[in-house]
Symmetry: C2
């Protein structure tokens, strides 16, 4: 495998830092190539602004159109283009981050906001009344796989089916489906650690074993069965799931996973 | 009312900028006090790092503990403390932003990551086996109200009950429930504009009327009926919704809204 690890924690000596280091050593020892985007260490700028688009920035700024033109004409900021190139190099992408306020830290959101430009991650393919783009299962990153590795401060029961925070799969849906599956990445089931602030040395040994096990079986892990947008499951052009396709009792985000 | 508007768009001459300006003028004309945190204009730093915690930053950095100690001892970065003070001044908070990749832009996430510190927005109240904090309906910001005003590039049907993106209420749940309701804010139903890239002058006149109408009726608008954590609806200490409380057919995030 060629694996890109995108890492988003400010402290190298954190649980997240340890999991990132373990991923690098485990994958390299197994003969895989690994590259790391350590966003805090890189001083990654988290916000989209005119500086991203070079001479393609218009006035007034149009984020969508300008980012697409900058992508097409090679005037994107070099550090943004470098991340796009890493994605095109990789066949597997791991995101390592702590769940802060029920989603990813701002620095990682800013990686997606800046790197997933128009004409690269969205705006790809015909957009008309008979087709609405190559997305949700198709797109620039089709054929690649992604995995979230997430640490959570709260207890597992808070994120269970009836837990007060909401089920973890639903909390991660906007990332796994809305961001990763959108440009074509297949998404593997996430690796989630709860009560992350209370991990001691013994606890870490168990975690390390479980993480190594996941890393060494990535190639044989089945992705989440999200429904491809253009597979016939959705009405065109409304993109609503066709009547009768939902398994009994499912609603909301769960409609978009095949039974 | 004393209204704080937190605004997150890089272009003042955008639809988001126009909605923010209209909110200021409409509320002031009606006799309300308004303050604005225009995050791009302020050059808001989006990422949590040791610089936020001054002399309270430990090594290795512990984001939760250090932010709480910095809050308690007055060593938080002045710009973070200033935003906390604005929240304590306000009785109503409006967040104006475009939906980027199904959630808020990084700069706004970074506002929450930095301003919602431990001992201010979380870690408040007794945490034990009989109570797990004053949160989800209680906390530092209880008695105040919040409203999301969101522009969305895609079509409304994509965000409908069966739409490919997932229902808008579910996409906003981690923000409205997980971030805003957590420290006690009551959350009003969001103001959402779809197909935002295709708004013309006539369309904007209709939007402006609808937005003014929402702004002038904020005080009489019923908040979303999220379930208070400590009201008896949840098992202690697992914080799972008690059996039998769910309306028929509801699951996932919808369990946490009272019928």
């Amino acid at each position: 495998m060629k694996t890109l690890i995108v890492h988003a924690h400010p402290e190298p000596r954190s649980l997240n830092g340890a999991l990132k280091d373990l991923a690098v050593s485990t994958l390299e020892r197994a003969g895989h190539e690994v590259r790391v985007s350590d966003l805090y260490a890189m001083g990654w700028k988290a916000v989209v602004d005119a500086g991203d688009f070079g001479t393609s920035a218009s006035s007034p700024l149009k984020v969508t159109a300008d980012s697409g033109r900058a992508f097409d004409t090679g005037t994107l900021a070099p550090e943004v283009r470098a991340e796009q190139d890493k994605l095109l190099w990789a066949d597997t992408v791991i995101f390592q981050f702590p769940l802060w306020w029920y989603t990813m830290p701002a620095i990682l959101k800013g990686w997606f906001d800046r790197v997933f430009t128009y004409n690269f991650a969205y705006g790809v393919g015909e957009h008309s009344d008979v087709k609405y783009g190559e997305r949700f299962g198709e797109g620039t990153l089709a054929g690649r796989r992604a995995l979230l590795s997430v640490t959570v401060g709260g207890r597992e029961s808070h994120y269970a089916e009836r837990g007060v925070a909401g089920p973890i799969d639903d909390l991660l849906f906007p990332i796994q489906h809305g961001i990763l599956y959108y440009p074509g990445l297949e998404v593997l089931p996430p690796f989630v650690l709860y009560s992350a602030d209370r991990v001691d040395d013994d606890g870490f040994q168990d975690i390390a074993k479980a993480w190594e096990q996941r890393l060494l079986t990535l190639e044989s892990t089945e992705p989440i069965a999200f429904r491809p947008q253009n597979s016939g499951d959705y009405e065109i052009p409304s993109l609503e799931l066709k009547q009768g396709l939902e398994p009994p009792g499912r609603s909301g985000f769960r409609l978009h996973v095949r039974p």
